[in-house]
Symmetry: C2
Subunit: 449 residues, 2 copies
């Protein structure tokens, strides 16, 4: 039997939790256990099929573990005895622990569509060999159908078309792609950008059956139409991977995530922590569990869990939900609530929007118009969320908003915001759209005519 | 005699103050008075000589004023009678006001170097025709000497060499270029980037005399060496333009800036406000007046002043000092204090640094390594400043830091920071260097071995 102070089960957030633990407690021995031979960068998976060229170019190097003094054991943990504090591996090996971290992530949601088990129907698993197989098969594909127009679906569609002569169709059940993530006007712009590339987008459509004799040959929609398909990608979401956690007696909560307190400590056992997609996550805003799964949240939780293992002090402030994507060269990002999600809780809001080139003057090379929409609570003036679309700088502008939301900045605070500006890098100091959107929201906030 | 509720004197921050006033008090009549025919984007001035091609491409359109219902009067205000509340123009016209805003900016500092008045010696004035003349003359220049290796000097050197066959030499009195703004390692990297372009950089050198018979033919350094020059650009700083303010009896403070309270209201007269380079600015950190002049501070002060005119409530939190620049394609930014400035006040600090590609995987196109250095107060863990160099995203990453500094975020808070990440737009969630630099600073902050 092996022994460690800390055993971490899992991939991406497991690495981050391990590193965080070693930083805070450099004397502790940490073992990371995982099934996968290599860990893929999860947000990079769609890019395997276009821009980056293959899964081998989308790997998190294990050197990160070595450099941080973390031992890696490749294999499947099949049992946890919380009384004896021992993890048992599939090959029978046992590992004793003082603190255990579940960072087991999520697995693709497989909907009960008849025919879903047919060949060439691929849910997006985070597995190297599997994704390699998809890549090889894709070279012979003429008709690709993607079920689900969320981020994964949209990004797959945008990437798979690159350098390949194939028809791509997205089938989305809601009235708009990305509707769970962004407000209508941004969904519509993203959808139009993708349509420009020749990707066909069907909304308000459900796949009722997957057709074919062993291998997929098409899909049948609820309205009876049939689409040809020699490959189907499933991008409709993920479910937490908490089977082992359940078996070991940990209390599960919302959508079968592991129930944890603000320290990322499991409700059931103070020596067991959880982080990432497998852990329950309260919303930053109302504290209710939220089903959102994002690498930004997972790694933040992992840093908190790692820091708390031997002295719980760091509190999780809850999921703000910050993300960005690129569709046919245009970037879209959201931080915090959207108008749609705010409306669900009944919060009275005011919005402010502003648009400006992301250079100044706008005539600088590669200038791109950037649109910002901010949303504030009507009663307190506090920033609840923001959406941005534009060029590459959207990726970090959305993080400016994340910092502002985390600190409950008000529209009035934003009058004071001092943003650095530079002709080649940002909008002009007069036009900077985050600040200007906040300034505009002051009018309805103050009830100025 | 004309009459207005608000008269604003000045350029860039004047426009912003006017717009802010009109947003907060839509019923008020605002007149903007300025000497200049057109207002240039100040940070864009060096780019006139390279990337943007001319001053006509670097103008703030007066449409901004019209759109916001602000009347523009072009001309010079020569007198203010604060008792009668009347501004007198050079042509004799008078304008009555209820509230007056000084946004008169700054003018170039002209050092007392013998020969400074010779032809083809150009301090960087923010005047359209003047800068056009410099551009025309530059076409015949073979030897350009730039006095001062701050931002203006470095950016001029980088731009003037573009598309021209001329030798550029920077003469800097300090041991490093940009030394007033950035820490040594960043100064050295910026300097090396500029040197790659063929620009010659002389440090620890002072210009003792400007040579030539009417027209400049060279400069003599303190060590006796002579450099050939048929044009000299002076970029050694600016002084507040407060002559009229002084004449009208407003109290001046640090370096002859107009003394203002937290509401941007002058000490002397509650109906007179000031903002931008002409106003005294306390440091965000210790409250002492600081000589820093940045568009980010000016426009922030202008928004505050405009909002406070008829009901002072918005408080200026003081100058954080946030800026960015690009030298030969590499971006550099600083928010808040540097190690050098923190050391001046005796603050005990700890630093954390991290480096990561600004895409993930690093193999994405146009990936660029980004280096982040953060500085925290040793005793409280609060973020005091950060420096970043890398690609285009530095422009907004530095604004993430600005928001974190403004809210006195601690290194522990940063463990919680939820940054959105995307393969094409940002570093990976595991490597995100702002968060990782903070995580590394925790080791010395907590005194972990």
């Amino acid at each position: 039997m092996k022994n460690a102070d800390v055993v971490v089960l899992g991939g991406l957030s497991g690495i981050t939790a391990g590193i965080s633990c070693r930083r805070h407690y450099p004397g502790k021995k940490v073992i990371l256990v995982r099934k996968e031979g290599t860990v893929l960068i999860p947000c990079g998976i769609p890019y395997i099929y276009g821009t980056v060229g293959g899964p081998e170019n989308n790997v998190i190097p294990d050197g990160l573990l070595e450099n941080n003094g973390i031992e890696l054991i490749k294999g499947e943990a099949v049992d946890v005895d919380r009384t004896r504090k021992v993890v048992t591996m599939k090959d029978g090996e046992t590992i004793g622990y003082e603190k255990l971290v579940f960072a087991t992530g999520s697995v693709p949601l497989i909907p009960p569509i008849p025919g879903i088990e047919k060949q060439n129907v691929y849910p997006v698993k985070k597995e190297f060999d599997y994704l390699s197989e998809v890549q090889q098969k894709m070279n012979d594909v003429k008709e690709l159908v993607i079920i689900g127009g969320g981020f994964i679906g949209m990004e797959f569609a945008d990437e798979c078309r690159k350098g390949r002569d194939l028809n791509v169709t997205i089938v989305e059940a809601l009235p708009r792609c990305l509707q769970m993530a962004m407000d209508d006007e941004f969904c519509e712009e993203a959808q139009a950008k993708l349509a420009e590339t020749g990707v066909k987008i069907l909304v308000n459509e459900k796949v009722e059956a997957i057709l074919g004799d062993g291998k997929v040959s098409g899909v049948r929609l609820a309205d009876g139409r049939e689409l040809k398909a020699d490959m189907v990608i499933l991008g409709i979401g993920a479910v937490p991977n908490t089977e082992l956690a359940a078996r070991t007696g940990l209390e599960l909560g919302f959508k079968k995530t592991i129930k944890v307190n603000r320290y990322m400590q499991s409700y059931t056992d103070p020596d067991v922590f959880a982080c990432g997609d497998c852990a329950e996550k309260p919303s930053f805003f109302d504290g209710k569990p939220t089903g959102v799964m994002l690498a930004s949240i997972s790694t933040s939780e992992a840093r908190i869990a790692g820091a708390n293992l031997f002295s719980p002090t760091h509190q999780n402030c809850g999921a703000i939900s910050v993300f960005s994507t690129v569709i046919n060269g245009r970037a879209f990002g959201v931080a915090g609530l959207t108008e749609r999600t705010a409306t669900l809780t009944g919060t009275r809001i005011v919005t402010g929007t502003a648009e400006a080139p992301d250079t100044h003057p706008g005539g600088m090379p590669n200038s791109c118009s950037t649109k910002v929409k901010l949303m504030f609570a009507k009663d307190t003036g506090v920033l609840l969320g923001g959406s941005i679309c534009g060029g590459k700088s959207v990726g970090e502008m959305i993080n400016v908003l994340s910092a502002c939301i985390m600190h409950r900045m008000s529209a009035d605070d934003m009058v004071n915001f001092q943003m650095g500006t530079h002709p080649a890098l940002t909008a002009s100091p007069i036009m900077y759209p985050i600040v200007n959107a906040a300034c505009k929201a002051i009018i309805p906030l103050k009830g100025i005519a």
